[in-house]
């Protein structure tokens, strides 16, 4: 008889407020950020005995220094989990945390774990993208990948080329909306419950406390964005204003087998339905979410029409719009990133996946009429990742 797959649930997720590179976290260690997220998860879920955590999977893109030393295991020990809980480090650049989630979840489904912690951290102020990389010369020699593929902003410009209908104007408008929605979400206290306050060291100013996402620019206007430089191409379309910044932050979540969650009396914020990762031409990595979503939908036996809530990572406005256009969804559709996205909050590479999940979980909570939602992101070197979730609060009945 074939093995049984178990149902996996997303119990709870938290994140640190995100910071600007060289900003509030300039003198804070990356591992400390994720350690405090893990501790907060345990505090918020007191019916979960720490010794029942079977694995801690933490992602980071640049796994050296304070993001190295098998960070999942180190963070587990330093967070106060018993030394019987193993841990590992994992990397898929921007989709690090998402991959930590899907990998740990697969372990749960397979029966290897009952409960796992998954998350990600990136301190881009200390570890800029590409720190320590040594690209194989064959990449250029065999023209396997265009040189522009190694610079994310250039891939965004390439995407504008491929879809000329996506103008700078549209990208800027999307960015303005992201900032507005973020400001509104803060005003309505929809983001703050996810945040873990973090003590921030500053030799010059003394200790502080980070409680708010530093990158946000509420009140941004189209005029503000219109004048910005286009660093990736002269007279280009991609600016620092319609893209996510260089940021620091960490996220973590608790995943569990559905039955264990019930036995332990844990909350269930989302139910895992399916996931898919796919490769695309690295030069247009921004389109990655499309084939990844196709895969996830097929595995779930769903179509895009079944998805009523979207969290799309906003590495660049153009890639979000490219994804929406593919599925015939309007740029300003209220089901997409209703609380703002990476353009406002920042995108500390490996951590973002769980931020998307936290916000999708908020959507599910606020909109019980929604049954299915998805989190999706593009990934450097040409990939996409998508996870489809089901709403445990779903009340049944029509959404249209």
């Amino acid at each position: 008889m074939p093995r049984q797959i178990r149902d996996v649930v997303f119990v709870d997720g938290v994140r640190t407020p995100f910071g600007k590179a060289k900003g509030q976290y300039a003198e804070t260690r990356a591992d400390d950020l994720v350690i405090k997220c893990i501790r907060e998860l345990l505090r918020r879920n007191p019916s979960l005995p720490p010794e029942k955590v079977d694995e801690v999977a933490i992602a980071a893109t640049t796994q050296i220094g304070d993001q190295g030393l098998t960070i999942g295991r180190t963070a587990a020990l330093l967070a106060g989990l018993p030394n019987t809980t193993p841990g590992y480090a994992i990397d898929r650049m921007c989709a690090g945390a998402m991959t930590a989630v899907t990998t740990a979840a697969s372990g749960i489904a397979f029966g290897a774990y009952d409960v796992a912690v998954a998350g990600g951290v990136e301190h881009m102020g200390r570890h800029p993208m590409g720190e320590g990389v040594d690209p194989n010369p064959r990449i250029i020699a065999e023209k396997l990948v265009d040189t522009s593929a190694l610079v994310m902003g250039s891939t965004a410009e390439n995407l504008h080329d491929r879809y000329p209908g996506i103008t700078k104007q549209r990208a800027d408008a999307f960015a303005v909306a992201s900032q507005e929605r973020a400001a509104k979400a803060y005003a309505n206290d929809l983001i703050q419950p996810d945040l873990v306050p973090i003590a921030t060291r500053s030799a010059e100013q003394g200790w502080g406390l980070a409680t708010v996402d530093e990158p946000m620019r509420p009140g941004t206007t189209l005029e503000d964005l219109a004048g910005l430089k286009t660093p990736f191409r002269p007279h280009g379309r991609v600016t620092p204003g319609n893209a996510a910044g260089i940021n620091d932050g960490a996220t973590a979540c608790v995943l569990a087998d559905a039955q264990t969650a019930a036995e332990l009396g844990l909350t269930v914020k989302m139910k895992l339905v399916s996931y898919g990762f796919a490769g695309v031409e690295p030069e247009v990595m921004g389109i990655g979410p499309v084939p990844a979503t196709e895969k996830a939908l097929r595995l779930a036996g769903l179509t895009i029409d079944d998805i009523e809530a979207f969290e799309v990572n906003e590495a660049f406005a153009v890639q979000v719009i490219a994804f929406l256009e593919h599925y015939g969804i309007a740029d300003d559709d209220p089901r997409v990133n209703p609380y703002g996205g990476a353009i406002a909050y920042g995108h500390p590479l490996a951590s973002s996946g769980v931020r998307l999940m936290n916000q999708l979980a908020r959507q599910f909570e606020q909109r019980p009429e929604v049954r299915y939602g998805l989190t999706t992101m593009c990934v450097g070197l040409g990939m996409g990742g998508t996870v489809i979730w089901e709403n445990p609060h779903y009340t049944g009945g029509d959404t249209q």
Partner: protein, 710 residues
């Protein structure tokens, strides 16, 4: 306010070398509690800009900075509370001691007290609630800052919380003697301020501090500051009500002070003023009158700052913390050869104790040898039993105990086990011929560069090495009993000892966590030479007719760790006699051998005292019977003068002979090897300030100001 500022300005002008600790203030949006906004806290971080190897300290500039930060916070309507915390691992390690020698008159010292009080009490009566988040080391003034705040959180990882002032010769003069008993009761306050300080400066851990009531809540280190701020929010919004224990202001308070006084008497015999001043202040603090209490602290602090005992204490503190770690005259560390296996000749009690020390600290194979297998087995069994004791007390893990026991072995056949030893120490009977023959035998077995060390207390190391092929690798390596506790290691350079071997000996000493002092190969080295000279004067006076009890009383009033005849008992009359004989042979004019001591040894008496059923000592009548004494009874003053003069005389000779490099080394040896007290500065500062040094030797041992008021 302006008075305080004037005092601060005056103090800043005097102190020039201060490594200032700045008070950096930052606004914190306190976490909301149950949807109640807690408001803005002005969080002050104490930081001197250095890492944890240079802890924060308070001098006038630092206090000025703190004052300004507190004032700024108090002036703001939008600030609901003030917080104080420290740079990583350190809250603050007390007052800046380096500034104390600059205070040359009493009123300057009073001002120091007034400044500290004036600044810190703003945290109590400034008008806003305050919190101390004790994230790490908090000593003296560092702990006092936290005592002035309304509330305290303590990190479970904070070690070293204490008020060590009495240990040095001061009192906690910025509120400690008043605030501590009014917070945790006199019983615990006496323990912390007096007893811990006089008990080798014992300190508290975070958990202990919270248990005593010094901290309100213990929080885990991983997110200490975040959780402290959340706790503060809960207190400010009323969700948490902080309960403090009730203080017993009746008999219990008086009893605690009395207990403290008895403790101080037993430790310093009234010779050091600091603990008694502290107890006076604690006694008076019962009235809970803050202004009176702080003013009294100002006076007491100033009196002690301007006291000779404090200057000696600071000098001693410096010796023990700095000179002990950088032994004067020791050769370059780089010359040391690695020691990965140790041999010990002898398996008696001393040798076995050495084996425990070596294996525990160095974690290398240690081989014991002796005359027969039975002795060897007994020695090894002793070591194993000691390791098991450590395991039982939880001082080592089961794996470590297993490792240590496996490292220790015994053999009668040295050839098999000593050939590859890097360091061999002999701890056999104190007889030159025996030791020479042991070294001769060893030399046939060990390598040419194996260090041969001797634990002799009075024989000539040069002599011991004289007939060897390679005398240059022989060193003296003299431990003090009890080996596990006394840190001194007299490391002796014999006439032919080379630098490499000496460097190796120092490195081994450091590995054993002992403080090595370089000593020339002179009889009885430093400690035993001086103690024997000292004891010699005492026994002579008693032989002449001074009653034993009077003699002990006369000298114990100096504050020495024990009276001379109790010391005699500890050392053992037979050993004392042997050393006296050796010293008499070397220096007949200055060292005598008491016939009564001989009689005591012949009668096999271990002490001149006998104890009653309830522990009261009195002179053993059997001892009194066998002694032959004269009829000339010296007075207490006469005996003191005589004994101290003899010490001064001997020390001058020792320095002239180059037995050790400087007077500082004499003092370091007496502090670490004989437990002589900080308030005497070891011994030479006391000889200087009492005038005896100049009277007897024509000059001071140390320049004025080094260990005394200038």
């Amino acid at each position: 306010m302006t008075d305080l500022q004037a005092l601060i300005d005056e103090a800043v002008a005097i102190e020039t070398d201060e490594v200032a600790t700045f008070a950096l203030s930052r606004d914190i949006a306190l976490p909301s509690v149950s949807s109640k906004r807690a408001g803005t806290m002005a969080l002050i971080t104490l930081d001197n800009g250095h890492d944890h190897t240079k802890p924060n300290t308070f001098g006038p500039k630092g206090l000025a900075s703190l004052s300004a930060a507190i004032d700024a916070a108090l002036a703001r309507d939008d600030v609901v509370a003030i917080g104080v915390t420290g740079k990583p691992f350190i809250l603050a390690a007390g007052a800046d001691l380096s500034g104390l020698p600059n205070l040359t008159d009493h009123s300057q010292a009073v001002n120091l007290g007034r400044i500290g009080h004036g600044v810190m009490r703003k945290l109590t009566d400034g008008g806003k609630p305050s919190f101390a988040f004790v994230n790490g080391i908090a000593l003296g003034g560092g702990l006092e800052v936290a005592l002035h705040t309304s509330y305290r959180t303590v990190s479970a990882a904070a070690g070293m919380l204490a008020t060590p002032e009495v240990f040095l010769g001061l009192i906690p003069g910025w509120g400690g003697t008043f605030l501590l008993p009014n917070l945790i009761g006199a019983d615990h306050a006496v323990k912390v301020v007096v007893e811990n300080a006089l008990n080798q400066n014992k300190m508290l851990t975070g958990p202990q501090a919270v248990q005593l009531g010094i901290g309100d809540v213990l929080l885990e280190p991983a997110d200490f500051l975040e959780q402290s701020l959340l706790w503060a929010s809960k207190v400010l919004t009323g969700e948490i009500e902080v309960q403090r224990r009730e203080i017993d202001r009746g008999e219990a308070w008086d009893a605690a002070v009395a207990r403290g006084k008895a403790f101080a008497d037993a430790k310093v015999y009234g010779a050091a003023p600091a603990p008694y001043r502290a107890l006076e202040l604690i006694a008076a603090a019962k009235d809970a009158d803050r202004d009176r209490g702080f003013a009294a602290e100002d006076e007491a602090l100033a009196d002690l700052v301007m006291s000779e005992e404090l200057r000696s204490g600071l000098y001693a503190f410096d010796l023990v913390n700095k000179r002990a770690k950088r032994p004067a005259g020791a050769p370059d560390k780089a010359l040391a050869r690695p020691v990965t296996k140790v041999g010990i000749v002898g398996a008696g009690l001393m040798a076995s104790q050495l084996a425990v020390l070596f294996v525990r600290r160095l974690e290398v194979p240690v081989v014991l040898t002796d005359l027969d297998q039975e002795r060897v087995d007994k020695g090894v069994a002793y070591v194993h039993a000691e390791v098991d004791k450590l395991l039982g007390k939880g001082r080592v893990s089961a794996d470590k105990a297993s490792q240590l026991k496996g490292l220790v072995s015994g053999t009668v056949d040295k050839q098999e086990s000593f050939a590859d030893a890097d360091f061999v120490i002999e701890a056999v009977f104190e007889e030159l011929k025996l030791k020479k023959s042991i070294f001769a035998d060893l030399e046939k077995i060990v390598r040419d560069d194996t260090v041969l060390a001797t634990n002799t207390s009075s024989l000539s190391v040069t002599e011991m090495a004289a007939d060897l092929e390679h005398p240059e690798r022989v060193v003296g390596f003299h431990f003090f009993n009890p080996v596990a506790i006394l840190p001194l290691l007299e490391i002796v350079r014999a006439d032919r000892t080379d630098d490499d071997s000496l460097a190796t000996a120092f490195a081994v000493g450091k590995g054993l966590k002992k403080s090595g002092v370089l000593v020339k190969d002179a009889p009885a080295f430093v400690v035993n030479r001086l103690l024997t000279r000292f004891l010699g004067e005492v026994t002579t006076a008693v032989d002449e007719g001074m009653p034993i009890e009077a003699a002990d009383k006369a000298l114990v009033s100096l504050g020495l760790p024990m009276p001379p005849f109790v010391l005699l008992q500890l050392v053992g009359p037979a050993v004392a006699l042997h050393v006296a004989e050796t010293m008499h042979a070397a220096y007949p004019d200055r060292y005598s051998v008491s016939d009564n001591l001989r009689r005591l040894v012949e009668a096999n008496k271990s002490s001149v005292y006998t104890w009653s059923a309830d522990g009261k000592p009195s002179v053993d009548p059997e001892v009194a019977a066998l002694m032959e004494i004269g009829s000339k009874a010296s007075t207490a003053d006469e005996l003191r003068e005589r004994a101290l003069s003899a010490l001064a005389d001997e020390i001058r000779i020792m320095l002239d002979e180059g037995v050790v490099a400087e007077a500082q080394d004499i003092d370091l040896c007496m502090i670490l090897g004989a437990g002589w007290p900080f308030h005497l500065g070891g011994i030479t500062p006391y000889l200087d300030r009492s005038g005896i040094a100049e009277k007897v030797t024509g000059a001071r041992f140390l320049p004025k100001g080094v260990a005394s008021l200038a």
